[in-house]
Assembly symmetry: C2
Homo-oligomer: 234 residues x 2
């Protein structure tokens, strides 16, 4: 690729990456808004999360398209192509994070409108929500700065989130057994915890793609990555 | 692209597509084996599902790689590139189906080794498992034959699966409330149902990519596709 063409490629790639980061900012806000709705039943926030889902979906389609066009027009070399491939995968993960945030908002809205929400339910997932929110933020930051070292640290973080999820599930089972009338609300809390845990999985995927670009190797499914041994109950 | 280069491209693409279909066959078998383990507690089958997960993961990495190399070497035009892009996305969905099948096998194994499995639990998910297995098979068939019409039919099928899932959840809540001692086993059944419902989502994604290739348009997130309104409890 000549210098001129390479410069064009860099510019176009940067424009795509900026839009991916914009998309990342939107899904981060969706997640925070969904948790606020779960905490205090702010239904207006829940509606906003659901509305933003359309924006995120449109961004996914247009960014996939922009990546295709970049490949066709600039015919990147193996190294540059690796970056575009990773970007395409990151876009998919961001869209799924938006989906999970939307599910949280919908569940929170339903729980509050049935009058079954309690601060205890929020307290149960507060820890995992904070860890996951930090992890997502750091994953986007690692993507923005192409920081392989930061991305590598995040991968270990996912195991912590999985552990928190299993502990929440055990607690919820105890509560349900003690008072079967709370089963329906406890299950809603469990879906929220599950959606948060999935957001953690997607953040881990993003971190893996950053490492793939920076290190030039595919670390998915290798020993380097602590594999998720179990995300179902014992 | 010259005729010679185009022929090479076609050959290489066909080689990739055959391997994707092989991967599809493996995850289909994983899903069936996992359900057999859930039904009759065949632990050897569960082990096989988990072993196959490694094969599926390796296929994902090597196929992503093959797609990158195809793009670099053959520099496909917009139309051909669309096929490669769709293939890359299908590979991701197949890998996730393998993950979900592995979760089912793990849950089934745990349920049986705790002596808590009952034929009632299997009966509750039998319907959704059969619908989803058919849907996955048809999605792979539509992908193999580039059959946009068949793919379009499948997208409506996903709404049926979501409906079945919500009905299972309502039943399980009733059971749990009637006998809190069954909560732990009921939750395991719920995770199995949830994993099946996710396999249906991935099969729908595959169908959407087939349509994207055949029709040359991106139907994700459009009115044509009945959007999943809710996969959390009412």
């Amino acid at each position: 690729m000549g210098e001129h063409s390479s410069k064009k490629y860099d510019e176009e790639l940067e424009a795509i990456r900026s839009k991916v980061l914009l998309m990342g900012g939107i899904v981060e806000t969706q997640f925070l808004d969904a948790m606020t709705c779960f905490r205090i039943g702010n239904l207006e926030r829940a509606e906003r999360v659901m509305r933003e889902d359309d924006t995120v979906n449109q961004l996914e389609v247009s960014l996939d398209d922009a990546c295709s066009h970049l490949i066709v027009r600039r015919q990147p070399t193996a190294n540059d192509l690796r970056t575009v491939m990773a970007t395409i995968k990151v876009i998919t993960d961001l869209e799924r994070i938006g989906d999970e945030a939307t599910k949280i908002a919908r569940t929170a809205k339903s729980l509050h409108s049935r009058g079954q929400a309690s601060i205890n339910h929020y307290e149960m997932v507060r820890g995992i929500a904070n860890s996951t929110s930090d992890m997502l933020h750091d994953a986007l930051d690692a993507f923005a700065r192409n920081d392989g070292a930061q991305a590598l640290q995040l991968i270990a973080q996912d195991a912590v989130i999985d552990h928190e999820f299993r502990s929440i599930m055990r607690n919820l089972i105890t509560f349900m057994m003690e008072d079967p009338r709370t089963i329906s609300a406890a299950l809603d809390t469990l879906w929220v915890a599950k959606a948060i845990e999935r957001i953690g999985d997607h953040a881990k995927n993003i971190a893996e793609y950053v490492i793939y670009v920076v290190e030039g190797r595919d670390i998915r499914h290798t020993k380097l990555v602590p594999q998720l041994q179990d995300d179902t109950p014992e």
